[in-house]
Amino acid sequence: MNLSGRSLTDISDLSREEIVFLLTKTKSLKENSRGDLPSPRGSGKSVALLFFEPSTRTRTSFEMAAFRLGFRVLNLDATSSSAQKGETIYDTAKNVEALRPHGMVIRHSGSGIPLQISKLLKIPVINAGDGFHAHPTQALLDAFTIHEKFGKISGLNVLIVGDIAHSRVARSNISLLRMMGAKVKVCGPPTLIPPLATELGVEVTDKLDDNLGSADVVMALRMQMERQSSFQVPSLKEYTTRFGITEERLGLVKKDAIILHPGPVNRGVEIMSVVMRDPRCQVIDQVENGVLMRTVLLEEFLGAPL
């Protein structure tokens, strides 16, 4: 399986076989992990991280992954630099490419930016989240976490709860999980369900209590504070009443199910503190698995060690 030199901007860039390959590689890395020791194999390589949107979790995850591979990291905090100087995003990307990194990881608030940049550059581009469009590395680490627990993905019932409409995590998870044979249901107020969602191949519901019991995986999404000021929900309190994973609702979740969240968690809004302490909640495992998956992705997409 050779992914070297390719870009990863969306789940549709990958075949089912390639996803299985990535999950398997990550599993073997986890089993044989040498902890925090940098591997000498990747020394001499470099990766540029361009984050045009604030991010701690995903950026540090990629940094740690690069560190494990012995890659040099060019960390460009682009949230304030280029745009304010009048440089276009495409000029910024071309300039960074001219620094000769072996690949580029991009996060941007505009949907489609990593795709557009990947067409412009010769080096591989990895999408670390674009607008509402895609977050493929998150979906891959979620798939790994699910697979680690159940030993399979096919046939599982996955319930994604929350703001589906504005979520790149939901979109990429829907694509990947459906490709791997899971049954995906989305649950949220009708204002936060994307138009024609059923045509994306998912079931849609606004009744959380009726649907928690059949889920093998419950994935809660982050609720943005701005949604209550833009007529999406009357208040966060009301959102929590209807869609929060509360202690009472925890009783409805299967004993062997898992609860996921891409983070950062708004405690008390999407997930109550008591749920965070429940053994079914795998939020911290997701973070750990994220570094492993991204280590594999950097190694595979940025090519063989020098």
């Binding site: 995003i89 495409y90 505009g110 949907s111 489609g112 795709l115 469009h133 045509e199 994306l200």
Partner: protein, 430 residues
Amino acid sequence: MSSTFKNAILFDPSLRINVKGSIVTEGGKILEVLKDKNADSGKVFDLQGQHLMAGFVDLHVHFREPGQEHKETIGTGTRAAAAGGFTTVCCMPNTNPVNDSSFVTQYIMEKVHQQGVVRVHPIGAVSKNLEGNAMAGIHGMIQAGCVALSDDGKCVMNAYLVRKTLEYLKSYGIPLIEHCEDEHLVGRGVMNEGLVSSQIGLRGIPHAAEDVIVSRDISLSEHTGGPLHLAHLSSKGAVESIAHAKARGLKVTGEVTPHHLLLTDESLRTYDTSFKMAPPLRTEADRKALVAALQSGVIDCIATDHAPHSEEDKDVEFECAANGIVGLETAFSTCYKLVERGELTFERLVESLTTSPARIFKFNDRGQLKAGMLADFAVVDLKREWKVDSSKFFSKSRNTPFNGWDLKSQVTQTIVGGEEIFNIEKGICL
């Protein structure tokens, strides 16, 4: 000064003319339409069997002068019009400063006089500075040459202002042109709301944003009796409302752009900002409804909404990119694809570029091949094949979704007032 255009196929569906013949002009007007006959008076142009039609009339262009001359000027805009067979164009008031007073209208008319190669009629603003709060200087603008009013680019959100403007315009018999997009429903949307927006993660604009304003303004036109013209229609729902209004005999007319007739939101999958405009490209069902409505006459005419933008305004993130595309130089040939595909008749295509738009703005001296009319013509070679190359546009801007398209049929010659102003071999002739 006399000219003769001979060996032509004279084509005017409004007068049921489709015959070999020639036209003799005198003093800028049509002197004689000679069916099955040739003449040789004055300067003679042998059209060698090409189609001769009334010059095209575009009720909706943006020429960016004054204020954004780096995108387009009246000089370059009218050259683009000439190259597309348009002999009359009406320019929207969203310039800088806005055309909301007689002073700005006069400035535009002066520029037209100095630089224009086709006939230009300005459209005045409905509201001062397009802010939707207070009426613009309507009487002065009309005296200075404005032929309609519009806040195009923005919807007039205050229904009371629409009502009062429609009433006020009854003194002049000219239409209010509405840009039908409810700004609250548009919100931060940048493309049609539907399956494609759900898949590619761009904020959607529902067709209801257009439909509610179309319905609202039809009600206000009915209430006031004032003529209403609906710009660049994009949705099936709007078409249904207009059909209903027309059936009740209301003074409502509508236009559609070549891009809404030919393209859908499927084109957005590449995030190419050449496909970003307001209103947005919608679904195939909407596109089909628009073509059918144009064919049946529910939609009266084709207008380009020629909207030049610089590369700097387009080559940015999709959300940040300017709305609009240029259209004058590709309008006829792109729409002719609909004729080739059997979706639109050739008669209706030509009528919606000539007689129909001329009637809406009461340009009674043009739009038909008839003695006494202005000698404004478009000559079209229906067999000529060409590839769209935006780098060769007469327009200052290159923002077209049709770049690289292979088209059959091309405007080869444009005549204004009996004078050849564009020729495919020589370019602009002055």
